[in-house]
Amino acid sequence: MSVKTLASAGTVTKRPPSLTRRLNLAAELARIPLYLWALVVLIPFWWMIIAAFKTVPELMKNPPTFYPQNPSLDSFYDPNAAGIGDDPTPDSVPGVFQRWEDVAGGFLRFAANTFGITVVVTVLSLLIASLAAYMLTKTAAPGRRIVFVTIISSMMIPWQVSLIPNYLLTSDLHMTDSYLGYIIPGLAKAFVVFFLVQYLRSIPDDLVHAARVDGASEWRIWWQIILPLLRPALAAMAIFVALGEWNNFLWPLIIIRTDELMNLPMALSSLNNAIVSSPGSMGVAMAASLLATLPTVVFFFLFQKHFIKGIALSGIKA
């Protein structure tokens, strides 16, 4: 129950102020478990952050410490860590930036891969989806309806159904283990087209017609009129697509073999394998997780309004 409606209810029915106050208090008490849940929500983040700055002995202390007692950057870069071939020392393991020595740039390379692929996929998939959406809503080309229905029905199909054929197809095209094979199969996103079509329907056709009367080509109308009008919808979809791509795991797991082409989720997954044999690497895994998660959280705080609006929009339009 919200404070706002309770207060307005109080004024409407002319409740005595003491009753309103008591109701507010009850509502506040009822929220206590939810504040505890907020704490539960935050704890894994806190646990990740402090683990990234703990030393190996402190990581395995019992009971665990709830803040790093002597914060160190060893999990990122440990000057005392043994190189390959040396006897491993129990108290220091190679940090995030000391691993993958055969890959130029190491962890930074994976971050660059992830960033580049996310940008390319987001831009390209939105461009082609907006073209399709424009064609489907603002032109009278015959066959639009059947195309639209086909695209909508495809949204019901879990993408894993096409996983195996797509793997074989990319391998037939000699695109496995390459950026192309990573990027191209995922570019046609039915949900984005559907969403943009819904959005474009609420935009009056007059502008388009006026532009056509003035002799503008369809491409120019799309570029100069439709894209600017679509901006809020594109922002919402860009967030969806970018977030999904940043965390993309199953597809690269299947088609990427070379370390140079790994993205962040794959690098994290290989650290996940490393902690089985050496639990001391947990701090390194947490440091890497922190580095991989931080950009999305920062991005969220920068574009919080768009995030929330986009999600709300997707729920209401769909």
Partner: protein, 325 residues
């Protein structure tokens, strides 16, 4: 959009059958006229057909074959499906685990999301801060967060899970080695990650309900509970249906947590005694560890059919509820 739509003769909207092309000329004229339009659809259409429609057909064909990726596929009819449904105990286990996981995670996520939305729906600073906190897991969903959960559920006594259990007087638990807690662990992670997302959608839905309805109801003496039951819930129905269906579909496709939490060696998927084995990890195991691509394709199609049927039932059920009102 506040601008009212004008219903001129030139209005063209895709899904309306009566919006016929204005002028129909000879085919060549039509091509000239609509050429650019089709060209605009082309990039999407090509990618859609090559990487979605064609693989779909190919996947269906493979599901009827015995195929290991090297030798040519050998047609076996519905043998893969009869094997799956009648003899494959691992698959039955995967289905059962998935159903338990989907039911628990969807119900809890939506219930909690709804409670959070009702409690923190205003634009006050406190509510905005709280909503941001609850939403954080949704933006950071990914492999990194799964590793944190693995770290929390460490078997050792210094794991956070065990520390909390001991604080409340319990004994150390081997979380990720105990088959009985595999699904609860997955559900916990799902609710942690998904409730905030559902909350955002519900807040948008609740705030779209006009205040006058509640004011009117208060004047008529309706209690808060009745207002919730007779105003909030019915008007929230479309959003509720959307959240239920999308989160159900998403839950059926769970893969990463299962793959990463219990990972000890390359060829084992599914946790202790397969207690965490769900459909997509099983598909991955069959397809990419054992290279039984025909069999794995059959699993993919079963997944599709299950999701399709569940969505239909959910739509049907919610429609029945609507007719009741």
């Amino acid at each position: 959009m506040t601008v009212k739509q004008t219903a001129g003769p030139e209005r063209a909207e895709a899904p309306e059958p009566q919006a016929a092309p204005r002028r129909t000329g000879r085919p060549t004229h039509r091509l000239q006229r609509y050429g650019p339009a089709y060209a605009m659809l082309l990039p999407f259409a090509v990618l859609f057909i090559v990487f979605l429609v064609y693989p779909l057909i190919r996947s269906f064909y493979y599901s009827l074959t015995d195929f290991n990726g090297i030798k040519a596929p050998e047609f076996v009819g519905f043998q893969n499906f009869t094997e799956l449904f009648l003899h494959d105990d691992r698959f039955h286990k995967a289905i059962w685990n998935t159903v338990k996981y989907v039911l628990a995670s969807v119900v809890l996520t939506i219930a909690l999301g709804l409670v959070l939305a009702i409690a923190f729906k205003s634009t006050s600073l406190r509510d905005r801060v709280m909503r941001t906190i609850f939403f954080l897991p949704s933006v950071s969903a990914g492999v990194g967060v799964i590793l944190v959960w693995r770290w929390i559920f460490m078997v050792d006594s210094w794991g956070l899970g065990n520390t909390v259990v001991r604080f409340f007087g319990g004994e150390n638990k081997a979380w990720l080695a105990d088959p009985a807690v595999s699904i609860p662990v997955l559900v916990t992670m799902a609710v942690w990650g998904g409730a905030g997302y559902a909350m955002v959608l519900f807040v948008a839905g609740i705030n779209a309900i006009p205040d006058e309805l509640y004011e009117q109801a208060s004047i008529d003496g309706a209690s808060k509970a009745r207002q919730f039951w007779h105003i909030t819930l019915p008007l929230l129905r479309p959003v509720l249906v959307f959240v239920i269906i999308t989160s159900t579909i998403g839950a059926f496709q769970i893969f990463e947590p299962v793959y990463l939490l219990w990972r000890r060696s390359a060829s084992i998927v599914g946790g202790p005694l397969d207690s965490a084995l769900t459909i997509v990890p099983y598909l991955y195991d069959m397809g990419f560890n054992r290279f039984q691509l025909g069999y794995a394709s059959a699993i993919a199609w079963v997944l599709f059919l299950i999701i399709f049927l569940v969505t239909l039932v959910q739509l049907r059920v919610t429609k029945t509820f609507k007719e009741f009102e």
